[in-house]
Symmetry: C2
């Protein structure tokens, strides 16, 4: 069985040459992230991912998390792995030193996080949810709540969850009905049922800190009447020790397509005495706080897409190198060769490799912008970077995760019949990857966020700025010689034009005909992903050529140019079709009366 090997070389290249790690390390508060430290962190994380998490991935899928009498038992090995994970400090990587965190920049945490996700998607969800909960608490909680909870969560002694949706709510949080009754002691009693709660119950840690959306009795209707509460599994005494069991129970877990080792809980709050909860921040501002968690979580889920592309690629590549079948095409009577020599297998592998690299580069660049948006001393720079992050988060989430599914499907295909046999492991990647396109907002929800809140609301200004940067890179491509750069320049320029036209159309039409604009939302998100990925591949090729011109003989560089060339002819070439679906596609989408479906 192929085990995961972290792609440290490409990660380092992206961090240093594309995401500007050196500049990030000059931001106030990010000075720890020296090249040496980052290299050491990547090396240690790679070892942990490869040696501890990856070997548990397949057995964890087969055994699954098991529910019995309101408790969940994790698959064999997960508890010990989690203990090691927390003890090694991995839960604390990106958190503030004030709370015991290591305060490393998001761009470094992104590379490390990608490793956890590639090695063991199910396992990685526990720290992902916890860090989202930490972020919401740190930004919105009272000093007392922070003192009580944050340090234990940063150290991984306790884990966190996000309790948003309910059976009749789904993505529509206005429909949340869980109630929160204020008590004389300042606490609340929480009653209601929450569904799809990732790691809502497990045996990895001694306590679970649920962040729960609920309505107080005086709350207005809709999303403006939702408050955020903290509801621990075990109450916490004044000295920090654990007290009584709270009335928050996992009544069952879902039987899912994938991520079998990640328990997806149905949580019942207050079925007995009432669950004790504490208000986080102010009443009726819960959705706002939850969005803090959600944006971080959306980026994290986007990284799952990158990780799925990479993991599926590695397994398919390893199989293609080992599997001997047929002679070279066009050669009769020659020796049988590994299938990696067959052009169509290479095409599939290049599709996967180039997609992993493009989604990775885009995600890390966005993470670096996040660091600048938080830490840059100049307010204008912070604002400019934040606008870029806001624009690109739905793309990192939507495009990378859809890519993860497609690439995992290609990975199955590379294996032929063996890919369909579960023991091979390729099918698990496909089953696991599929969830990433759904949770934390489906691709459709990301796309509507993108064209509405992120583009139409500001008249497309940030997109135009990004397109300006892209055109600069296209100009640089034109100044290089050779077929590869000529092809890259031609495809990338045409793709930018397609993106610009579709973007202008959307901004112009969103206010006039929101249904027609929305009909093109997902094609536009995919278009922006394809072109932004091409932007990063083009930048990578430029850096690689500069290294080659300077006499660097590392074969990584010509391979990067070849991969960018592949991306240009096979992926950027899709841009004009996607743009047509945006600008001309609404008529077909909206043509049929509902009863003719």
């Amino acid at each position: 069985m192929s085990e995961y090997i972290a792609p440290v070389r490409d990660m380092q290249f992206v961090l240093k040459e594309l995401a500007g790690l050196e500049q990030v390390a000059q931001l106030p508060g990010c000075e720890e992230a020296t090249p040496d430290l980052v290299d050491a962190v990547l090396e240690e994380a790679a070892r942990f991912a490869e040696e501890v998490l990856s070997p548990l991935n397949w057995p964890g899928d087969q055994e699954g998390a098991r529910w019995h009498d309101k408790t969940v038992t994790m698959p064999a090995g997960f508890k010990e792995a989690y203990r090691l994970f927390a003890e090694s400090g991995w839960t604390a990587l990106g958190s503030e030193p004030e709370w015991g965190g290591q305060g490393l920049p998001k761009v470094v945490a992104a590379a490390v996080g990608e490793m956890w996700k590639s090695a063991n998607h199910s396992f990685s969800l526990c720290p992902l949810l916890t860090s989202g909960a930490i972020e919401a608490l740190v930004l919105s909680g009272s000093e007392e709540l922070k003192r009580t909870y944050v340090e234990k969560m940063v150290s991984g002694v306790w884990t966190g969850t996000m309790n948003l949706t309910e059976p009749n709510a789904g993505s529509d949080l206005a429909a949340v009905r869980t109630r929160a009754e204020p008590q004389d002691d300042g606490s609340y009693r929480i009653c209601g049922q929450k569904i799809f709660i990732t790691y809502g119950e497990h045996d990895l840690a001694e306590n679970i800190v649920h962040l729960v959306l609920a309505r107080t009795p005086t709350a207005p209707e809709g999303v403006k009447g939702i408050s955020l509460f903290i509801v621990p599994k075990f109450m916490v005494n004044a000295d920090g020790s654990l007290g009584a069991r709270n009335d928050a129970y996992c009544v069952s877990i879902e039987h899912k397509l994938g991520i079998h080792a990640s328990p997806t809980a149905i949580m019942a709050f207050g079925d007995h005495a009432g669950a004790v909860g504490h208000l986080v921040g102010e009443e009726n501002r819960g959705l706002e706080y939850m969005f803090i968690m959600m944006n971080a979580a959306r980026f994290g889920v986007g990284l799952e897409g990158v990780a799925a592309c990479e993991r599926a690629y590695q397994r398919a590549r390893d199989y293609a190198r080992d599997r001997i079948q047929c002679t070279d095409i066009g050669v009769r009577g020659g020796p049988k060769v590994p299938i990696i020599r067959h052009p169509d297998v290479r095409r599939m592998l290049m599709t996967m490799k180039s997609r992993a690299e493009a989604t990775r580069a885009l995600a890390y660049v966005v993470a670096a912008a996040h660091d600048a948006a938080v830490h840059h001393p100049d307010a204008g720079e912070r604002k400019r970077n934040q606008a870029f992050v806001d624009l690109m988060i739905p793309v990192v989430k939507g495009w990378s995760t859809e890519s993860g599914v497609s690439m995992a499907s290609i990975g199955v295909q590379v294996h032929g019949g063996m890919g369909y046999v579960e023991e091979t492991g390729a099918a698990q990647h496909l089953r696991d990857a599929q969830i990433s396109t759904i949770y934390e907002g489906t691709t459709g929800i990301q796309a509507n966020d993108l064209i509405g809140r992120k583009m139409a609301r500001e008249g497309g200004a940030t997109l135009q700025a990004v397109i300006g940067l892209m055109r600069g890179v296209a100009g640089e491509l034109g100044a290089r010689s050779g077929d590869d750069f000529a092809a890259l320049q031609r495809r990338f320029s045409a793709a930018i034009d397609a993106l610009a036209a579709a973007g202008e159309w959307l901004v112009a039409n969103y206010g006039k005909d929101v249904r027609a604009a929305s009909a093109g939302a997902v094609p536009f998100l995919m278009l922006l992903g394809v072109v932004a990925g091409g932007w990063q591949m083009a930048r990578a090729a430029l850096v690689a050529q500069t290294k080659i011109d300077a006499g660097d003989a590392d074969p990584f560089y010509p391979a990067k140019i070849g991969t960018a060339r592949f991306y240009a002819d096979h992926v950027l070439s899709q841009a004009s079709g996607l743009a047509s679906s945006v600008t001309d596609g609404a008529a077909g989408v909206l043509a049929l009366p509902e009863d003719m479906f």
Copy 2:
């Protein structure tokens, strides 16, 4: 749980208006296929699929086929369903009356077969494999073998299998090592292991007729030394009764991603006394006979793709009608609406609906051509139709099944989080659909067959003829008025140009640089599928407009035009990107040395 409803209206439309059922019924030997009879057959098949097969689909997936001590127990209900299926004559639908079959044309069998596949993919594989085995026996077997086996297989009393591949062979049948030792009585003793044998063992029928590829002692190396043998599970006495158990045992079944109710057997022949086999046809011509079965089976697997698109579409549509979530986009404070009203959900449903209709139309048109290729009194017409069938079988197989996977994935997405929960049923369609892109030759194998044997070998003549027919339809579109036809005409014409350019490039380069040509094989197969599907959607729109102009008020017709319009702007628009991947894509595919993957 959404149950399957056969799309009889669209099937009838395609049969009558696009596939030319009336002309097929005029072919010698096809006269039974009167409109009334075909309507009655479709109605009865729909009832069987909806009432008997569909309700077993989900429980069959959950229970799965179970192996114990060399026997396989099918899930509850399958045995009774199979008995009813055979008794109702469905196994005999397409077979010759000489052997107890009903002799209905392939185009009618295609529509009926699509129903079985949509209703219960796993179940449908048993008759699919049996009919392939019948076809090979009828065309290649001796009179004695035919008398002994065919009638029982046509009536469904016995079932059939195809035993091709082995652990070290995969798609490379030259590597087959199973041995066949001639005996004094004219029979052979077969020894070897076969893998991936669909319905290699089960409890639905009293006997299983294995068709097995093996080598005689004097056989030459490679594919020219493979013979075909019939190896029954139980020997057959002279009076047709069952005799001793043959030494052909199922030693285990695979644990697969999907089609859990279809047992995928590992078969051991001759582990004990030696399995008794009888030569089919002549020695060393086994591959040729197997290809007879394989071409029929490839078409049948292509129909699985159509069926997956349809089934996934129906489930997603039903959910989208029922699920109430959010207000209409752009409307604040209005009532919550079914999600089918949200533009992006409509976009997903239209993607699925248009793909189901396009793949169906293409498949049935190819089936009708098969009928003409077999039955037409004019030799030129037979030849012309056969060339069309040969060209399009890899497209029906490859494009329809890849569409099935993509559409089933979209179907999961329409359900949001519920789609990821197995109980919903959407995930099963995705798991089941994935196999169709693999067995009977992966998409890559179909594509190499398409560009090599089907195009390059004849200089692209049949493709050019098809492009000529397409251009005729594009001309007709130009003669209609209105936005929909203008858009269809523009997109379809551009797509034909892209197809023609890519096809010419392939034919010109296949002989010069087969690796570069092969690198574009799958993009070309997808391109031909997209454009050929658009061709049929364009023909459908023309018929629909003619009906409307003649005063027909059936809302089916404007819906068909709307669906064709959607297909034009969202699918035909991809043609130029695919063509670029063919003509310019080889450089990127072939750029990297193997160790840089």
